[in-house]
């Protein structure tokens, strides 16, 4: 192998190195974005669990109470107040069942 051949090989290798660095940078951008999204999802789930579920329960309770005892509400609204929690529970159950996997 001559000096020129080695030099040209090094030039090619340096170019290759740049490509490899570009690949690494691009993959890491994607990985960091994914990690960031995971973190956001985790916090959203936590906040949703801490505040969203109790708030939903209070609202459902209030809706049911109004439906049972409220005299100011009209019948369709009363039916809606009863149906809303039931539909939500049904939907949540359906999602759970659909995603259910039997762990072996």
């Amino acid at each position: 192998m001559t000096d020129q051949e080695l030099d040209s090989l090094f030039t090619e290798s340096a170019k290759r190195q740049q490509s490899v660095e570009q690949i690494n940078a691009s993959v890491m951008r994607s990985v960091r974005r994914d990690l960031h999204l995971q973190l956001v999802r985790k916090w959203a789930r936590l906040i949703g669990g801490c505040f969203g579920v109790p708030l939903a329960l209070v609202l459902y309770g209030f809706a049911l109470h109004e439906a049972m005892s409220g005299t100011a509400l009209q019948t369709p609204l009363r039916v809606a107040c009863i149906a809303l929690p039931l539909i939500t529970i049904g939907l949540l159950l359906a999602v759970r069942l659909r995603n259910f996997r039997m762990e072996v």
């Binding site: 090989l9 090619e12 290798s13 340096a14 290759r16 690949i23 890491m28 994607s30 990985v31 973190l39």
Partner: protein, 181 residues
């Protein structure tokens, strides 16, 4: 001297602590290998880059399904699958005859050059750390020998002699390495 973490340790860090740096370290160990495999199949630098990126992203997403085999080989297999899928898709999409396309791709790809590049990378990796650093600075970061001499605390002439010896060693290794594997 810092202990080099094993692939398994790095993967554990990624899975348990969501450590992006651990994945970066792991990826840097194998990018060249996976890219080499991708360019062999794709015969085109741009597509090979895309395949390598997709392979590492997929590997990251499926890291929990890794079964403890060689990580580089595992990602290379993923890259091969992606490359074959892309080639298949490309073949279906092509309206011109396949032979014409193959000729066009071959112009940008040289199997022998690829093998020599991989041999050079392997030969450089075998050098002692200090010599490898000099090669990295001079050829990959384009740093003049004068600056390298200042960095390592030697004269420029010393560095020139050292560089000559390193080059001779590399030439010897590369000449003895068969290129048509």
């Amino acid at each position: 001297m810092a202990i080099r973490p094993t692939d398994i340790e790095l993967i554990r860090e990624v899975l348990q602590d969501s450590n992006a740096r651990a994945f970066e370290t792991l990826m840097k160990r194998y990018t060249s290998q996976v890219y080499g495999a991708a360019i062999r199949l794709m015969k085109d630098e741009e597509n090979a880059q895309e395949v390598t990126q997709l392979a590492f992203i997929q590997a990251y997403k499926q890291l929990d399904s890794w079964r403890g085999e060689n990580f580089g080989a595992w990602v290379t297999i993923i890259a091969n699958h992606i490359a074959l899928r892309l080639l298949e898709k490309e073949k279906r999409r092509q309206t011109e005859p396949l032979d014409e396309n193959t000729d066009a791709q071959d112009e940008t790809y040289d199997e022998q050059k690829e093998q020599r590049l991989q041999s050079l990378e392997a030969a450089v990796a075998q050098l002692p750390e200090a010599d490898r650093q000099i090669i990295r600075w001079h050829y990959y970061e384009d740093i003049p020998l004068q600056i390298i001499a200042q960095r390592v605390g030697q004269t420029e002439n010393n560095i020139k002699v050292r560089m000559y010896r390193i080059r001779e060693r590399l030439k010897k290794v590369l000449t003895s390495t068969p290129t048509n594997l």
